[in-house]
């Protein structure tokens, strides 16, 4: 089975976020990591390969420096990497990103394309659906369980009460949520072998994508401003002997801790 895991490189959650004059996130190489949500997609890809055989490709659109994070996916267990990079891709919105990823997926060919449910920087969460739309192929979204059998992909999607079951013939796209698995650590051997695994680079020309439809040129979405979230947490202080314990108990009951 050909499994392609789409991964984004995002600034680490703890990194200080700065924006450029045209309101684009300033990306620093030293803060870059694999989008934490995509680690679950990668793990699911590896588990499906362990069950069904085949190959796992880590596909990433990003700057040339993203190779380092593709390498990390190879250390964790992906067989090879593909980087889609082109100066014209800078500033792509979700639709532009989806066009480029869809073209890469088409070029690579796949039975299963896996995505994290969103990216930890923009938190748009629409790229998997947009890629499916461009490709005209089914998306099984927000999977908390995935089974492949008899040429069909079947997922469970957590709902308010219980879960929904959805299935589609493969090739299919699946986005996963964090409860689907526990991502493994890379191994020392994986790190050592990752240097020998191939990483191919595709430009827009390689993919036959019209440069005016992606990047800043093609973006129909534009960030106009940003402001920090007020993260100051206001604690509530119960003190004194006069009923403080009762109020704490009441609070814990309210929070469903007790």
């Amino acid at each position: 089975m050909n499994i392609v895991v789409c991964m984004k490189e995002t600034p680490s959650i703890t990194a200080v976020k700065r924006f450029t004059a045209d309101m684009r996130l300033e990306r620093r190489k030293e803060d870059a990591e694999i989008n934490p949500f995509d680690e679950y997609a990668l793990e699911e890809g590896l588990r499906q390969r362990e069950k069904h055989g085949g190959e796992v490709i880590a596909l990433c659109m990003g700057p040339v420096t993203a190779t380092e994070n593709i390498r990390k996916a190879l250390a964790i267990g992906a067989d090879r990497g593909v980087l889609v990079t082109d100066p014209a891709l800078e500033g792509s919105d979700a639709i532009g990103t989806a066009r480029a990823l869809a073209a890469a997926l088409q070029k690579l060919g796949f039975d299963l394309a896996l995505f994290g449910s969103a990216a930890a920087d923009s938190y748009g969460g629409v790229v998997p659906a947009a890629v499916a739309e461009v490709l005209g192929q089914p998306l099984l979204s927000f999977a908390s369980k995935l089974e492949i059998a008899d040429g069909r992909a079947k997922i469970e999607r957590a709902a308010e009460t219980g879960y929904q079951v959805a299935e589609a013939a493969i090739p299919a796209l699946v986005s996963v949520i964090q409860t689907i698995n526990v991502p493994r650590y890379p191994s020392m051997k994986g790190i050592m072998q990752s240097k020998k695994k191939p990483i191919d680079t595709f430009s827009l020309a390689d993919l036959g994508v019209d440069a005016t439809l992606v990047g800043v040129a093609g973006a129909r979405e534009k960030a106009t401003g940003s402001s920090p979230v007020d993260t100051q947490r206001k604690g509530e202080l119960f003190s004194g002997n006069d009923g403080a314990a009762d109020r704490i108990v009441a609070f814990l009951v309210e929070q469903k801790v007790l």
Binding site: A75, S187, M188, K189
Partner: protein, 383 residues
């Protein structure tokens, strides 16, 4: 001269850090308190490759350079010195079998050790033979295709928990240093039992104890290398062992420094954080200097071993300086935290208890100084 790790070293260091901080550090206090040997982390560590650091690829190991190994032990010891120590012993045993075992012995034991299915232990010391290893009295007497083992061994790390014991025993009463041979003894061998387990100041989650052999019969095929090679085998692991213990000491020192720095920023006295007082600043600065100097000595010794340069003096310096530094830094960390440092709500008292053994085992620091002095003085030092 480059003071920069390469990509692979950085990634391996980062992986060791992540694993140590997530899977070991949160439990270290409890393991210490309960004297719990965390067998449950051996398997996950083996999956990362940590149980075969010195074993060649064909047996499932990594055959990592010493420097990379030092980076790993440093990270593990930052989380828990005891875990780093018992793992380093395990790796030493696997390394000895890889280096001195014949093909059949490697096939037989290495996959079990590397996969974490079996834990290794190393046994040289006796009641009357510590720093002077030639004084070994416990015997192995040849009888046909077997050896009959008698006597007891002391201070064995992983005693009782380990499945395979590399034991140095006397096969020739006449020849002192050359009358010693190395045997691999399986835990369930008849006539082999575990004696007293020590009640220690530190390293409490790692058992240390006595091995007792009473007419214990092992096949001659369990002897590593030729008869009389035992001391050579034991001594071959000295430099590596010293570098490992040095790197572990650096890890403990760094952990203590980190806690002290954090505390100095948070604890307020006389209206300001105590880190605003020079008395604390000077202490932290000295701790940082000692830790970093130790780290550089350890890395240099490891680098020399990796590059085939003479490493005896460098390894002795690294072990001695780093473990002395760890003792000083952890003691200062307790001082910087004051009353908080003396109680178990903070980990620095554990670091201090653990650090002490570094100055004693793997060649006491007095022995290291003799080794260094002999390097300086040659024959003169031996008169």
């Amino acid at each position: 001269m480059f003071f920069r790790l390469d990509d692979e070293q950085r990634e391996i260091q980062e992986l060791a850090r992540k694993f140590a901080q997530h899977e070991i550090a949160p439990h270290a206090d409890e393991w210490d308190e309960e004297h719990h040997f965390p067998r449950e982390v051996l398997q996950p560590m083996a999956e990362l490759g940590l149980a075969g650091l010195l074993v060649p690829d064909q047996y499932g190991g990594l055959a990592l350079p010493r420097l990379t190994g030092a980076l790993i032990y440093e990270q593990l010891a930052q989380a828990d010195m005891a875990t780093a120590v018992w793992l380093s012993v395990h790796n030493m045993v696997a390394g000895l079998i890889a280096k001195f075992g014949d093909e059949a012995q490697r096939e037989r034991w290495l996959p079990r050790l590397v996969s974490g299915a079996a834990l290794g232990a190393f046994s040289l010391s006796e009641a009357h033979a510590g720093s002077d290893a030639t004084a070994i009295r416990a015997t192995a007497r040849r009888e046909g295709d077997e050896y009959v083992l008698n006597g007891s061994k002391y201070w064995v790390t992983n005693a009782g928990e380990a499945d395979l014991y590399a034991v140095m025993l006397r096969t020739d009463a006449e020849a002192r240093g050359r009358g010693i041979s190395t045997f691999i003894v399986e835990r369930d061998t008849a006539g082999f039992s575990i004696g007293k387990l020590e009640r220690k100041m530190g390293l409490r989650s790692s058992p240390t104890g006595e091995l007792i052999f009473e007419n214990c019969r092992v096949p001659a095929a369990n002897r590593l290398s030729a008869e009389g090679d035992g001391l050579k085998i034991a001594l071959s692991s000295l430099d590596g062992g010293r570098v490992n213990i040095g790197s572990i000491a650096v890890g403990v020192a760094q952990a203590a420094l980190d806690v002290a720095v954090r505390y100095a920023g948070e604890r307020v006295a006389f209206g300001k954080p105590i880190g605003a007082f020079e008395g604390i600043q000077f202490m932290l600065a000295d701790m940082a200097m000692k830790t970093q100097a130790a780290r550089l000595l350890v890395y240099e010794a490891a680098w020399k071993m990796d590059n085939g340069e003479p490493s005896i003096t460098a390894a002795a310096m690294a072990k001695c300086f780093a473990t002395d530094a760890a003792m000083a830094v952890t003691t200062d960390a307790v001082q910087a935290l004051g009353g908080a440092g003396y109680v178990r709500d903070w980990p620095v008292e554990r670091y201090m208890r653990d650090a002490k053994v570094g100055q004693i085992f793997e060649g006491a620091n007095q022995i290291q100084r003799i080794v260094i002095a002999r390097g300086l003085l040659g024959e003169v030092a031996s008169q």
